[in-house]
């Protein structure tokens, strides 16, 4: 009995209070240092404020204050201020404890026009399960047991699905594997091709050949390459694809994948999939049958005979020329020169122009090489070509351009950085070339812009160059000179073909996407970690293991399991709140005449689901919406900040269940008690 009495007095005594205060002080100091050193609130909280020991301290305070008051029993009037103060303290502490156990804080993601009554609880783990045929998904939280470890059994559902936790990894990186999947490259419908590390860019290993479409469609060379010199390898593929169309899957060490294709007529097409993943995905059966990425290559899979292709372009040129004639539109200078030569040679202008463009394109050179023989009809055309009718400097410019490209053309066309080649060759107009290039091609990804600008520079500076007599030039030189002029005007087979309408039967390739995880060492900054779980899902006699990386926003892809009967996602736990919130509009308000944000606002319609009562409200940075039962809605973020697309907002929802009937009244009672204590002591002192 004595021990009990001593314990009672100790728990309600000043020594226990001092121990508690000292302990809390140590926690606060530790929390400050931990948060400062790790830059992580979660890390600090895990060892301090969120630890069970800290909750025990709160209970200790509660007991200490309660016993300190009850020790005064039997109560007398003079105890009233003391008791009121302690009652206030107990009410405030009770409110804190109730919030700790029954309150929640989470986020609600809303898009303009839609609404939700679901919040994602911060820093929690759950498996979201959606069954085929059901629109609503269920959240199964991962629960910790007394030892602090996660329970192996996550869920045993009524429909027979059993989810078990096999492993949890604190931090992984995740990317979506598309065309390149680890050691192989995969195009649906073809055998997987082994990925080959590029050692020598000059010698690329062929991974296979395939014919897409009917039997008389061209055969494509296929490459599956791993390199960090993507652009150089693409150039090499382009060189190799002079006779046969080629398709290369190129992956770099960051797992960025390029699909690079050179079509049957030298047209180049590329798709790049970077860290952010593909821009769009195909969801088969809403994801229950998996996801795929698609590439639509602008090359016809129907028999694409060269003749028919040329015919298409010839028809296009012809119709455009006829339209220009009917509308009285003047032809561009190089076309006018060529047309006059055709008229002199009495041949069909569109036919000859097509023949010339096709032959030039087949050489793969920037300009028509003088060494390339001309067919008889074209030979006649260029034999009749005269440059006297136009500005004499044009012919001079063309001739000097041929001289320049003869000297450095090969280096310019094969090098990744043509500006460097010109710098080494001490090109006198380099500065203006760089300036213009930076405006047209700021990222410097298109070397042909430099070549076109250089060609234009040659023509622009022709007046300052010594004149040459073009009359003595052989037909091949005229052909080459005309190609200079055409390049300056942007006329080439590739530009005409690119303007062409999309092919009627394009080459469509698909490949499945799958998540790939790489285990990394976790950071102390817990917020930056991306945990991963390995689950075992079983139903009846079927079982399947699958790995899922944490989706912090809970809006990413759900992955199919058990033959597509279920979709699963590893995400924060979610709960329904009794309020449905609809976002009508969100907006960023800027300071006058600037793009600097002055305020962010969102117009909400909040409906209390039980009563059906609706209230329209606007929340903003310092304007919180609060319900009568302790739900608070804070605007956390708006994206995008401009008006480019429907805006999304994140609303932080906080619930303190005891705030209005315990915490706030407790604070009032406490204040009254302190004031009374103070006044009474003063009175006693005066007496």
């Amino acid at each position: 009995m004595n021990l009990l009495k001593h314990t009672y007095h100790f728990l309600g005594g000043v020594y226990f209070a001092m121990i508690l205060i000292a302990s809390v002080t140590l926690f606060v100091i530790a929390g400050t240092f931990l948060e400062s050193s790790s830059q992580s609130h979660l890390y600090a909280a895990a060892y301090t404020y969120d630890s069970p020991l800290f909750a025990l301290l709160l209970w200790g305070f509660f007991i200490n204050i309660l016993f300190a008051a009850t020790r005064r029993w039997p109560f007398r009037w003079k105890h009233a201020p003391f008791l009121i103060t302690h009652l206030g303290l107990l009410m405030v502490l009770g409110g804190v404890l109730l919030k700790h156990y029954f309150g929640h804080q989470g986020t609600m993601l809303l898009t303009e026009g839609s609404g939700s009554h679901v919040i994602r609880l911060a820093n929690t783990f759950a498996i979201n399960v959606q069954k085929r045929g059901e629109k609503v998904s269920t959240s199964h939280p991962l629960k910790r047991n007394f030892s602090g470890r996660y329970d192996p059994l996550i869920a045993r559902r009524d429909d027979g699905l059993v989810l078990q936790l096999a492993e949890i990894t604190p931090h992984v990186s995740e990317h979506l594997a598309t065309w390149a999947k680890g050691p192989v490259a995969v195009i649906d419908g073809l055998r997987p091709m082994p990925m080959v590390d590029v050692i020598d860019q000059e010698e690329l290993t062929l991974a296979g050949r395939a014919r897409f479409g009917s039997e008389d469609a061209p055969v494509w060379d296929l490459f599956a390459l791993r390199t960090d010199h993507t652009e150089a390898v693409q150039k090499q593929v382009k060189k190799l694809a002079r006779k046969t169309p080629a398709l290369a899957i190129i992956e770099n060490s960051d797992h960025d994948v390029s699909l690079f294709a050179v079509g049957p007529y030298g047209d180049v097409w590329t798709q790049h999939i970077g860290k952010g993943g593909p821009e769009s995905l195909i969801a088969y059966d809403d994801g229950f049958s998996g996801y795929a990425v698609k590439a639509e290559l602008p090359f016809d899979t129907t028999p694409a005979h060269r003749a028919s292709r040329e015919q298409v372009i010839a028809n296009k040129i012809k119709s455009q020329l006829e339209k220009a004639r009917d509308e009285g539109v003047a032809l561009a200078t190089p076309l006018e020169i060529f047309k006059r030569a055709c008229e002199k040679a009495q041949v069909d202008f569109p036919d000859m122009l097509t023949t010339y463009l096709v032959r030039w394109n087949a050489t793969g050179s920037w300009l028509y090489p003088e060494s390339t023989p001309l067919p008889a009809e074209l030979h006649t055309v260029f034999a009749n070509m005269t440059w006297e009718d136009i500005d004499p400097h044009v012919a001079t410019g063309c001739q000097w351009a041929l001289v320049l490209f003869d000297k450095v053309g090969e280096a310019l066309e094969s090098d990744d950085a043509p500006l460097e080649v010109l710098r080494k060759a001490r090109w006198p107009l380099l500065a203006s070339l760089e300036r213009e290039n930076s405006m047209i091609d700021p990222e410097g990804k298109n070397p042909s812009v430099i070549l076109e600008l250089l060609t234009q520079q040659m023509l622009a500076s022709a007046a300052m160059l010594p004149a040459q007599d073009s009359r003595l030039a052989p037909p091949q030189q005229h052909a080459a000179m005309l190609s200079v002029l055409m390049r300056a005007y942007g006329i080439h087979m590739s530009t005409i073909a690119n303007d062409d309408s999309a092919p009627s039967d394009p080459l469509v390739l698909e490949t499945r996407v799958m998540p790939v995880h790489e285990v990394l060492s976790p950071s102390n900054k817990i917020e930056d970690n991306k945990p991963r779980v390995v689950l075992h899902a079983a139903k009846d006699t079927v079982g399947k293991a699958m790995a899922l990386a944490y989706d912090r926003s809970g809006t990413g892809l759900k992955w199919p399991v058990l033959h597509g009967e279920y979709l699963l996602r590893f995400q924060p736990d979610v709960i329904d709140i009794p309020y449905h919130v609809r976002l009508r509009q969100a907006r960023q308000i800027n300071y006058a005449n600037s793009n600097q944000a002055y305020s962010y606002e969102s117009d909400l319609v909040v409906t209390e689901m039980k009563s059906g009562m609706t209230r329209e409200t606007t929340i903003s940075m310092n304007n919180v919406y609060e319900t009568w039962d302790g739900y608070r809605f804070y605007l956390s973020s708006i994206s995008p900040s401009d008006e480019s697309t429907a805006k999304k907002i994140v609303v932080v929802v906080n619930r303190d269940p005891a705030k209005y009937w315990l915490t706030y009244p407790g604070a009032v009672v406490l204040t009254c008690g302190i004031v009374w204590l103070f006044c009474r002591r003063k009175k006693n002192d005066d007496e």
Binding site: T111, G113, S114, Q585, A646
Partner: protein
């Protein structure tokens, strides 16, 4: 068309607007707010609105010297690829002017109530008068369109109307439009779907 003044007691009048009669029924689909002095003109109850050149509803702002007419159209589609791009609508509005200077045209992106699109403002000669056009070409955000593409049979007709593209076009004398421009912008930006767009859980 039948016209009626808005409720004089309210500073703002809330209007519901029905969609087109795709299955011989017209459902209330949209909601919009107007100042109380505007006059609303609806198609006659028996009039068919399957022809998309007919507006769903018109509002008229009258003053002693003339009137501003604001028409709301929608264009329902079955797939996302069939949608008309907002820029195509804007180009069409530009071409409707007899003469217009490029400096008197402004096109700005807009996004509100789940829609995204363009706001066109142009002043020029239209049928011999100096006219201002304020017009919005709006499409639902692709994610919303996809959510409304899967519907049970009983909701299919409503969802088809809900995912329709929308244009709001105000035409009037330039000086009068300048006077009412702010009201017209507020009116357009209050436009929204009555039903909430479902979202994925």
């Amino acid at each position: 068309m039948g016209c009626s003044p808005s409720n004089d007691n309210d500073a703002n009048t809330h209007h519901t607007i029905k969609g087109r009669d795709f299955t011989n029924k017209r459902f209330p689909v949209y909601r919009i707010n107007t100042p109380n002095s505007w006059i609303r003109c609806d198609p006659l109850p028996k009039e068919s609105l399957t022809d998309t050149t007919k507006p769903l509803c018109e509002f008229v702002i009258k003053d002693p010297h003339g009137a501003i007419r604001i028409a709301i159209h929608n264009f329902a589609t079955d797939t996302i690829d069939q949608r008309i791009s907002p820029i195509a609508q804007v180009e069409r509005w530009k071409r409707q002017f007899t003469t217009i200077s490029p400096t008197d045209i402004s096109v700005t992106p807009q996004a509100f109530s789940g829609y995204e699109g363009l706001y066109f403002r142009g002043t020029g000669d239209l049928k011999g008068a100096n006219t201002t056009v304020l017009a919005w070409s709006l499409c639902l955000a692709p994610e919303h369109y996809r959510m409304l593409s899967h519907a049970e049979e009983d909701m299919a007709a409503l969802y088809r109307e809900m995912r329709a593209d929308v244009t709001i076009k105000a035409v009037g004398r330039a000086d009068m439009m300048e006077l009412h421009e702010e009201d017209i912008i507020d009116f357009a930006r209050s436009f929204e779907l009555i039903e909430e767009i479902p979202s994925r859980s």
